[in-house]
Symmetry: C2
């Protein structure tokens, strides 16, 4: 039986039940028009994902169930829709569920059985797991259901039920090379189960996470039938040859049916290069952070250096130049090329630009309190932070912080100074990657016959914080090429000092870098910002999404 | 058999393996001198608790095991020591364990079976659970072991083994009225198991948590035999009548023995009043945050109002007046009594005090950028924050933020302004409780014939942020009596709007307050401070303790 399956690679918003429901309806209608038998949405599409501690609010669970009930009556009844939502167990505990909707009824539900509780995931905190498999029959095809983490574990129990097809809604965040890992996993499970597998993932930014899509369909041998584009909303419609009546289904929706008369060509989107992938993740993450939090514009301090230029270039691609405000804030230690290069960036891109001299503010502090050395350097960064926040409060822009991962990891940053901002677009990007991305983005522009956004001098100049005369990053830090290699192993790879030394790095340098990272890590915690406050009695804060449209009021 | 059990209610430091080991040795020697047969330490005493994601560092697990091995050879071999530490499963996964140490050997280990994963706890993330009970025989008494969360679940399997005594190491954080809940639970489990139960808890501050001690021993009927003082380090030594040879132990340390010749009187410490409890929690939390992070002194902005006075009074009790630096930072909108009351507080307590006029700094910003209304108000708060951070950087004091829970919950606070600080002592205290605690602390002073620290006018004046002429909190907020009732129900009690309205609150007011709380909650997330940055690839930050002595370097 050739089953036509539509996979909705879309971008829901956490807490926006009404908006997400409208999106689900719209895509269901599209799928029906394409003669699809089934449409599958990403994990928890109705509430958005991840909902974090919103799962524990009774009022939110009840709103999710109510929104689902409304959707059941309004969705096109002649197509099977697989819709993720937040439900409750019989004892009132939160569940990460999908509903199988058909004929204006819920034909079945399935509860995610394997809850990830590592890295960015906290699902043991937020959900109780399900304990049963689900197989539904559609046009004679017995379809097994799994949700995201479920397929990272053995699905022997589902395999034993011999489904003719497996559908998997996901909320799988982007990481470098994650697409390769995903594909291999999807292929492995399909072969183990002996059935085609359709994996649908969401797109969009949600707080610190970016979902890259990368929806995949493979056949029972693991061969790719179709694959969606990365970082793009898309309805991927696929004809999947599926064996019929292979199982004893829990629910029969239809015993047999007619195949679509036309035949869809296989569609496998081209893969992006590493730099293109990262660039798209940064742009999508920023665009959604701004839009989903109902900002319209951003403001960023432009030092003439590479970090702030890269952040502003990401913002231009995410929001358009008219929504980006650059502010040069030179001090007496700023080089001549500082304001020149900031001005050149603004001219290249067409963003709004202004220049605020910070010397009068710095002087007023220096005359009121006694400040020397690092304390005096920090005042300059904090005057800049206060200036950006003032402009933000007055004009309504979101402030972007420009720190990169290398300098943040070793604590080369001023709290309440250059660290000020609601979103830090390149906090996960090492300095060497900052240069690589800037070069890549400029080359893309040149190849398209556009003006390269980032001034070449910003890329080539020696990094400096310009907080005292002739200061260079290399006064305080190892060369970035070397530093980034160490950080990649220590911070990302969790390799200890012994492993780093064994890998051939100088032992004094290893200990110096580890000491800097650990000190910075604790300093960030010793000075948790005023904003990270608990409003719980002697407890840590509730873990709620930064970005959400949910409020009871 | 009268078994003599020593319960070490002590204050370990997360990551300080050497210091904690020394503390364990010292208390073991003390217990031996008191002729105790067994000494029990709090949960994970060797590593400190909670270690959060440090559990996932192989180098930290290996350091914990090495420290345990050293302790085994150095502890007094003629007493049974029950010592919590971080171990690994055979597959290398982290475990929350206790070791039973006797005769310079590890006689047995037990792995925590129930992992809390709610509220402040993340143990599913950090540990794998154990799956077996442990009973050891000491002087013929069969002793069952459970760790903290274990006793919040049914211990039917342990009860079935019929131990003659149960020992429970804990890391149980303070909450209001937690002592009543704990006592009832300990009594219930002792009765269910049919054996005496000894519950030992730690003391001390760890990041946002405070451990209050409250070590309890009950007999098999649940009657309290002994109870330690709250918020004090103490070795509680208790004679416990325990039935012998009731079980089939996993390990036999000794089949019988001689009872101690003397007899200890039962010791049940008096309970503190609610205000005294909270005060002690605040003082202990601040003292340990400062000491464990290796600060020696604090700086706090003194507005003449009640919040900053209360924070400074807590700091004086925690650190002594000589370690507290008060800074008045009046603006043109400050009332006359602002600086007078700040000066009076300093005179009452003997803290260091200085006055920094902020008008010149505020004017320099106003002349450089266009700021009106709230944007202009915020500049004043941010100039104060920058001033405190400048003094902190120059002189090395930790900045204390003075926001209370009521104003933080509704967002009546300036990010990077009054929210600046490494620790916010009263962030969990509602405004009405701020007044009550100030009054209580002053009365305590008066009763002891001391000068009351907090000026009466600071307690009585109408709350104002003094950021514009004649501003009052009541311009923007409901009266605190009413606001705090609503916040207690909505924020702490997770009651929804329907429940609040049903409880008789005005529906417009309910919706207004909920909207303020939700907006503030999201604002705090939309502007996560520059400091809360991930150094992980597209992931959230590792969850490490703010306070820890652990570094590989």
């Amino acid at each position: 039986m050739k089953l036509r399956v539509a996979l909705a690679q879309i971008n829901p918003t956490v807490g926006d039940l009404e908006g997400n429901a409208a999106l689900i309806s719209e895509y269901t209608d599209q799928a029906k028009k394409a003669a699809a038998d089934v449409i599958v949405f990403p994990e928890m599409v109705l509430t958005g994902y991840p909902v974090e501690d919103l799962a524990m609010r009774a009022s939110f669970r009840s709103a999710s169930k109510k929104a689902l009930a409304q959707l059941v009556t309004s969705l096109n009844p002649s197509i099977v829709s697989v819709v993720g939502y937040l439900d409750e167990s019989t004892t009132g505990a939160p569940q990460n569920n999908v509903a199988i909707i058909y004929g204006s009824k819920i034909a079945a539900t399935y509860t995610k059985r394997h809850l990830p509780n590592y890295g960015v995931f906290d699902e043991f905190r937020n959900f109780v797991p399900g304990d049963s498999t689900l197989v539904i029959r559609v046009k004679g095809v017995d379809i097994g259901i799994a949700i995201c983490e479920d397929i990272w574990h053995s699905l022997a129990d589902l395999a034993a039920r011999k489904p003719g097809l497996v559908l998997v809604p996901n909320g799988s965040p982007y990481e470098r090379n994650k697409d390769d890992v995903r594909l291999a996993l999807v292929q492995k499970r399909a072969k183990e189960i002996g059935a085609p597998l359709a994996y649908v993932n969401m797109t969009g930014g949600q707080d610190d996470l970016v979902f890259d899509g990368d929806t995949i369909v493979v056949d029972a041998r693991g061969v790719v039938i179709s694959r969606a584009a990365q970082f793009q909303d898309q309805l991927l419609v696929v004809d999947i040859d599926s064996a019929t009546q292979t199982s004893t289904p829990d629910v029969v929706i239809s015993e047999s049916g007619v195949e679509a008369s036309d035949s869809l060509p296989p569609a496998v989107a081209a893969r992006m290069s590493d730099n293109e992938e990262i660039w798209n993740a940064l742009v999508m993450g920023l665009r959604d952070y701004v839009a989903k939090n109902k900002f319209r514009s951003v403001v960023v301090g432009l030092s003439g250096g590479i970090d702030s230029a890269l952040v502003a270039a990401i913002a231009v691609d995410a929001l358009g130049a008219k929504c980006v405000n650059g502010v040069a804030m030179p001090s007496k230690y700023s080089s001549d090329h500082s304001v020149e290069d900031a001005t050149a960036f603004a001219a290249n891109t067409g963003i709004h630009f202004r220049n605020v001299e910070i010397e009068p503010m710095v002087q007023s502090f220096m005359q009121s309190i006694t400040l020397k050395a690092v304390a005096a350097e920090n005042i300059q960064a904090r005057v800049r932070g206060t200036t950006l926040m003032g402009i933000s409060n007055q004009e309504g822009h979101l402030v972007l912080a420009t720190g990169n991962k290398s300098e943040l990891a070793v604590g080369y940053s001023t709290l309440y100074g250059d660290a000020v901002g609601g979103f830090a677009p390149i906090k996960d990007i090492y300095k060497t990657d900052v240069w690589a991305l800037a070069t890549w983005r400029n080359a893309q522009a040149t190849a398209r016959g556009e003006v390269a956004p980032i001034p070449q001098r910003s890329i080539e100049k020696e990094p400096s914080a310009e907080l005292r005369p002739d200061q260079k990053d290399s006064d305080s830090l190892p060369e970035y090429e070397l530093l980034d290699q160490l950080l990649t192993r220590y911070v990302d790879g969790d390799q200890g000092s012994a492993a780093l030394i064994a890998a051939g790095f100088d032992s004094a340098l290893v200990m110096r870098v580890i000491a800097m990272v650990d000190k910075a890590e604790y300093k960030r915690r010793q000075y948790p910002p005023g904003t990270k406050v608990s409003v719980r009695a002697f407890g840590k804060d509730r873990r709620l999404p930064m970005t959400s449209r949910w409020s009871e009021a």
